[in-house]
Symmetry: C2
Subunit: 319 residues, 2 copies
């Protein structure tokens, strides 16, 4: 049991709550690191979390998600909410260290202490973003940000999975999107609680709305949010048009989910899925450690004398 680490986490959480942004950044770095570092943080953070709302935003690259997130942050700040943004980029070789990039990207909010922005990337740790993201959201929740916006850069499987693991998920499309995201349309329809048709100053908004409505009718009726019909909100992120309506739709979705008990069920299901991912990540770490350590070299040398199964079991039991 890494006592010093857990004491560190307690101190870091206290500092982060008192407004020390470096402490928040450090907690997120520990989460990204995975393994015992992440476990020590979660042990401290989990009991302090659960009050913030998480909102996933996903959609094709170029749909204007970053601009829309920036506009949402502006609207939320105007309502005096402390907002955090996790920008998830599975393909990026950069990790949370990309502060400069985040500052440039979210220039309007860079000097605002009520906003915390973090880019997450895998840094190659086992389990990856699907393991780190919910834990990072809990950190931001525990240190006082609410809501936590989780923005993903694409519509690949990982992005859709990560974005769908939020309390409410917003799928961002553009007029005429129909042809551009054939690949993962079904996955997007499944996770959407709210649709934003962004860049709605372009032609084809009505057609896109009818297209979405038709797909909603065809898709599986109830699912996890019985009685909820995903609203479709037209936005122009660059001018702020529709952004308050979008947030109002998110809050309506949240209220519906809370009243019907669907929010609690969704959160419970998410924790179960997270448990499985963390178990797999922990055992994967063990495989990795076993293949790298000196015990492995010993087993490797012993395998001329020992049955591979006997050597493997000694190794696994020692790990």
């Amino acid at each position: 049991m890494p006592r010093s680490r857990s004491t560190d986490a307690v101190q870091l959480v206290a500092d982060a709550r008192a407004g020390d942004r470096a402490a928040t950044a450090r907690l997120l770095s520990l989460v990204e690191q995975g393994g015992d570092a992440a476990a020590a943080v979660d042990a401290v953070v989990f009991p302090e979390s659960g009050s913030a709302t998480t909102v996933g935003l996903t959609g094709s690259p170029g749909a204007g998600k970053s601009t829309l997130v920036s506009a949402l942050v502006g609207a939320l700040r105007a309502a005096d909410r402390r907002v955090a943004v996790l920008a998830i980029d599975p393909s990026s070789p950069f990790s949370g260290g990309a502060i400069l990039g985040d500052r440039v990207r979210m220039g309007d909010h860079a000097l605002d202490n009520g906003v915390f922005i973090r880019s997450m990337a895998t840094r190659g740790h086992l389990g990856g973003l699907a393991v780190a993201t919910p834990q990072a959201a809990r950190v931001l929740d525990a240190v006082g940000y609410d809501p936590v916006l989780i923005e993903t850069v694409g519509v690949g499987q990982v992005e859709v999975e990560v974005a769908g693991e939020a309390d409410v998920t917003v799928v961002v499309v553009n007029p005429g999107w129909g042809d551009s995201v054939q690949a993962n349309k079904a996955g997007l329809m499944e996770i959407a609680d709210v649709f934003a048709i962004n860049k709605a100053d372009r032609a084809g908004v009505g057609e896109t709305r009818r297209d979405l409505e038709q797909m909603l009718e065809l898709s599986t009726p109830e699912g996890e949010a019985p009685g909820w019909h995903p609203p479709i909100v037209a936005t122009v992120a660059t001018t702020g048009e529709g952004v308050e309506e979008l947030w109002a739709a998110v809050e309506r979705a949240l209220a519906h989910l809370a009243v019907t008990g669907a929010l609690e069920r969704r959160r419970h299901r998410r924790l179960g899925a997270e448990l499985q991912r963390v178990v797999a990540a922990r055992l994967a770490e063990r495989i990795d450690a076993l293949s790298a350590g000196s015990a492995y070299d010993e087993a490797r040398a012993a395998v001329r004398r020992l049955a591979p199964w006997v050597a493997a079991d000694r190794l696994v039991d020692s790990g």
Copy 2:
């Protein structure tokens, strides 16, 4: 430590050595079963193995491998060798139980007590054929069969991998093969110690031989068997033509590998690779067991109170 199981394995090995074919079949079933059953067998069998030669045979479906293997068995029986055949079929839903199929397939040898034939399939156990096959070969070695022929049905990645994990590997092609197995040619060239051009009564043998020679010149020069130039033997399995020459080529390859120390290096490398696969299989079993057991249900229930990382670690440590 499953003492009773290991006692069982000791008894089964003794019975199998005394000529009890059902005991051999039972040992192979335990190996296919994986997990603790396989581990108990290996602990008994491994120290008794190492004297038999394993020969892998692979090539495209339809190349006549089964007929060639049957002909090789005939030639080896004529020289009074006790021969075992492992027929590896990753795609087959059947397991070792397919004795009738084996009898039909190897009809000439079905009643010969000096021949043991077994079809292996995955039966879905974790780690699969790549884990089970070398262990099954050790069982056959330990109970007195030598050589053990390992025949795979195709040229997919698993088949090439399994066939290549033998002391000597024979790649079976046909005249005019050039166009039919483009996909995995490089993989086949890499593992081949000996080539058989089977169905050599058809046209195109010379062309195929030149084709193979050219590819051998182009492929990486030394590799695991320095100084060995894979011979190319023309066979007609249905008539037995070339079959003794093929076995002579296998024995020359073996002798070369033994004299140069390459055989020992190859076996040591194989054991190392097997160790890694068994470690992965054992940990995969653990993930599986953890996700199915009551401890998992408890952790799943506790995850409302416990951080997923804390619940996961309790579970992993309990497993």
